[in-house]
């Protein structure tokens, strides 16, 4: 049903330009990975803390507030590079299970991060309870799935 839309995506100017260029796809991929590094760091600082590890001794709310802008910067980098990467091989993506796993998990991870995790982190002090631990674990599991499925798009 969505296939015509994916065909259109691949026929867009950006999609064709990236597909036809030798360097564009690899460079976008590399920047996408740099975004992944920053995303991983910004998430882990807070999620580890929620789980009672990493920067213990620092209030969760403060860490989360500090990490927020790096998290958003990383997401902007990943989306800005991810869209042209997708456009260049939209039809391949359409028939790729990993792509759908990633795109299903991604909105869930985003909603969870900015609706649930952010609120919980803001309320947590120095001693996150069971709720904080669950939120940290769910966050890590969701983003791990997004990243792993994303990497697997290239293998399947």
């Amino acid at each position: 049903m969505l296939e015509p839309f994916f065909r259109w995506c691949e026929s867009t100017l950006i999609g064709r330009a990236v597909a036809e260029s030798v360097w564009a796809f690899p460079i976008l991929e590399a920047i996408h990975l740099l975004g992944l590094c920053m995303l991983g760091g910004a998430l882990l600082v807070v999620d580890l803390r929620l789980l009672g590890a990493g920067l213990t001794g620092q209030p969760v709310a403060q860490l989360a507030r500090n990490a927020r802008r790096w998290l958003i910067t990383a997401l902007v980098i990943m989306v800005a590079t991810g869209i042209p990467l997708f456009l260049s091989e939209a039809i391949k993506a359409y028939y790729n299970t990993s792509f759908w796993v990633k795109m299903t998990t991604l909105p869930i991870a985003l909603l969870f991060t900015f609706l649930v995790r952010e609120r919980v982190a803001r309320e947590e002090g120095r001693d996150p309870g069971v709720r904080g631990k669950i939120v940290g674990a769910v966050s890590l599991a969701l983003w791990f799935t997004v990243a792993a499925a994303g990497r697997w798009i290239g293998f399947s």
């Binding site: 030798v22 740099l34 991983g40 760091g41 910004a42 001794g57 620092q58 790096w70 990243a147």
Partner: protein, 185 residues
């Protein structure tokens, strides 16, 4: 000498099996990539703190004491999976320009971390609470950020064979940088 050893290494049964495996190689590669989030991710957060642009109220010692063990775990995962990937195609990586640059910058990043550890970090008690660390610490953070950026980018580009020795003709600088055995030698 090195070429002969790497050629032999790449013909060992386990190396061939790893390269040809349907799932093991992609799983090792995926682990290598996902561990970036842990290793480079935590490194970047600490570097941003050292540069003085993030977590300004968190003492630097909290990073070097509590977060660094996680960075180390990430490093071990990256090193083990990276060595396995190298082992699957030693000769190809050895003659890959991006791989060579990556290894050089990796060494530079290591030296930078060592200098920071022996220098500014030793006196950290004096400045750990400062929102803006001293110049030496900021420099270490900036060099680290730049070095890991290059390592990640060149690491990703190793997958592309643009400058491989078996894709002749290549410009002279490529053959030199990749250590290709060309007819003129």
């Amino acid at each position: 000498m090195i070429q002969r050893f790497l050629g032999w290494l790449g013909e060992t049964p386990w190396s061939v099996a790893l390269l040809e495996s349907l799932y093991v190689w992609p799983l090792v590669e995926s682990t290598h990539v996902l561990a970036l989030g842990l290793f480079v991710g935590t490194t970047v957060m600490m570097d941003l703190r050292l540069v003085g642009v993030a977590f300004r109220k968190v003492p630097v010692q909290a990073f070097t004491g509590r977060l660094l063990p996680w960075t180390h775990i990430g490093f071990v995962v990256m090193a083990v999976t990276g060595l396995l990937l190298f082992y699957s195609q030693p000769l190809r990586y050895y003659h890959n320009v991006f791989f060579r640059v990556k290894v050089l910058v990796l060494i530079a990043a290591g030296i930078n971390a060592f200098i920071f550890h022996r220098g500014a970090q030793r006196r950290a008690a004096e400045w750990a609470d400062d929102a803006m660390p001293p110049r030496a610490a900021r420099a270490a953070g900036a060099v680290s950020l730049a070095a890991w950026t290059v390592v990640v980018v060149t690491g990703r580009l190793i997958a592309y064979n643009w400058f491989d020795c078996d894709l002749q003709p290549q410009p002279d600088w490529v053959n030199w940088a990749a250590g290709c055995a060309t007819g003129s030698e």
